[in-house]
Symmetry: C2
Subunit: 187 residues, 2 copies
């Protein structure tokens, strides 16, 4: 039996993306974003409220890094979503360490084991949000997250997901199937 629940989307899994930017004085900031994801072979999309410090920083610097929040960085990642960068220096308060990206004018937060370094290629207001598209220039991963083939092992990384119903974080779990393969039984 199906029930109609109204017009509030439930999309799952939603990511928890940590977007880090510099302002005009090169002060780093970070926020967390669930409304974003991959949007092309080398591109990621973010949808941000217009008032964020990050939105302003993106306009000036045309660059950001995007780190994947995981179980290890859950508390830190939640904190980045609790406070506005206009009110306090979150990077300083959280006590995390910043390295300037080798590739773009944006800060890498050393504590995250997986970070995408991105150039802004599009910023457009839509539906009261700022839609931002970033071209991924480099992916930086901590060696401890790699498998024996040198590729990122999401089982080691343990990315988290935002559960919008419970307002909770869930961890990404085990492999349950092969893509472009398991469906072939229906061919």
């Amino acid at each position: 039996m199906k029930k109609n629940l109204g017009n509030t989307p439930i999309v799952a899994p939603l990511p928890v993306l940590i977007v880090a930017t510099y302002d005009e004085q090169d002060t780093p900031n970070a926020m967390n974003v669930a409304w974003g994801g991959q949007c092309g072979y080398h591109h990621v999309a973010l949808n941000l409220a217009l008032g964020h410090k990050t939105t302003e920083n993106l306009k000036h610097k045309k660059a950001f890094t995007l780190s994947i929040a995981n179980v290890e960085t859950l508390v830190l990642s939640d904190y980045f979503g609790l406070v506005s960068g206009r009110k306090e220096n979150k990077i300083e308060k959280a006590g995390v360490h910043i390295t300037h990206s080798e590739f773009v004018d944006a800060p890498v937060i050393d504590e995250y084991p997986l970070t995408l370094e991105c150039k802004v290629v599009e910023m457009q207001e839509a539906l009261g949000e700022m839609h931002v598209v970033g071209e991924v220039v480099n992916v930086q991963a901590d060696e401890s997250m790699l498998n024996t083939q040198g590729k990122v092992d999401l089982g080691k990384l343990q990315p988290i997901s935002f559960d919008s119903v419970l307002r909770a974080y869930r961890v990404l779990g085990e492999v349950v199937g092969k893509a472009f393969k398991d469906g072939s039984t229906l061919l």
Copy 2:
């Protein structure tokens, strides 16, 4: 120690979204999409290759449903991504059942326990893809997926995620933290 891995994004978790549409003859079709997600309070975004049958159907009907692939529907969901709707009638071949959405001119695939019914509010070519924004008009869920408060329980639903490194599906796991709360220890 961090390593640079090149410019192929690793975004996690990516969703597995089943997009269902009618063509001009009202024949239903379905495909699967990992490049999409929520993009506003009542909006979802999809990024589709231009050549898809679905892209054409969206232009004509300006409507789609979006179902959340889960463990129970994994084989079916993978199949929808293996074959083009130009080559065969995937709905017929998979033997699934269709109900016309009450709210939009698009098919609901009965076998999925969670489906968003959406009107197309934007279609725009960008980066060689079709960027589609849908306004969610209704969310339909099977009663078996609801908790005692009548809300969707993602623990029951067991959504799957596309692991782009392994080309595999992972299941969304257990709750590991509270959003807008756990970070308050850093305030």
